[in-house]
């Protein structure tokens, strides 16, 4: 199996990432998180903890591969400033069957939200506000611990 972790200020190329994981397998699931265009955010800024971020994402991918026997796990997270409609994060999982790919994809994005050192700041007009963590994210991550 292959793990691909990329943390970068560049736009996320989902076509290239998808082609990469479609490697002889039967099932690929993906999740893409985008900057919403409907809540007045002009710029979203992503700060992260270089080094620790990649380590955390790699560990999550290893856990998903072991738990669901994945053949591929990809996590790409953009950092720096981005605009409404742009991709923030892309997760892809590949497996022999769809159940494993779909569950592992949900697992990775749920765990990433609580266990990887990224921080979002929303800029609306002249105001920059750090995004507060959401209780629903903690709940979503906790359901995988049972």
């Amino acid at each position: 199996m292959t793990i691909r972790i990329l943390v970068s200020p560049d736009p996320i190329d989902v076509a290239a990432e998808m082609t990469r994981v479609e490697n002889g397998v039967g099932a690929v699931a993906t999740f893409t998180g985008l900057v919403r265009a409907d809540d007045g955010v002009g710029t979203l800024e992503l700060e992260h903890y270089p080094g620790a971020t990649e380590t955390a994402l790699h560990r999550l991918a290893e856990e998903a591969i072991a738990r669901w026997s994945l053949s591929e796990a990809t996590v790409v997270h953009r950092v720096g400033p981005m605009r409404p409609g742009e991709r923030i994060v892309f997760v892809a999982t590949a497996a022999a069957h769809r159940g494993a790919a779909l569950e592992a994809c949900a697992y990775l994005i749920d765990r990433l939200k609580t266990d990887a050192p990224f921080w979002k700041r929303e800029v609306r007009g002249g105001d920059a506000v750090w995004v507060e963590p959401r209780a629903t994210d903690d709940a979503a991550a906790a359901r995988w611990r049972s």
């Binding site: 998180g33 992503l46 700060e47 992260h48 903890y49 080094g51 620790a52 380590t55 955390a56 997270h77 923030i88 994060v89 994005i109 990433l112 939200k113 609580t114 266990d115 990887a116 050192p117 990224f118 921080w119 979002k120 700041r121 750090w130 995004v131 507060e132 963590p133 959401r134």
Partner: protein, 83 residues
Amino acid sequence: MRVLYFAWVREAVGVGEEEVTPPVDVTTVAGLIDWLAARSEGHASAFADRERLRAAVDQAFVSLDAPVADAKEVAIFPPVTGG
């Protein structure tokens, strides 16, 4: 020991990282935060509410009662909000 700050903790402290030499009686992350809080008004403001702080020691996430005695790098930051 290198101390890193992120997000609004970084903004409140005023720097992203600093090199510090805490006294020997600073043995945990919480103890380190207490000691750092006295360095400036910015530090005090950043560390006012412990419940809003998270930490990593040598790039591994830890609770605030984790030891820091042998740490090379300690990071202090808000709960994460990526993805």
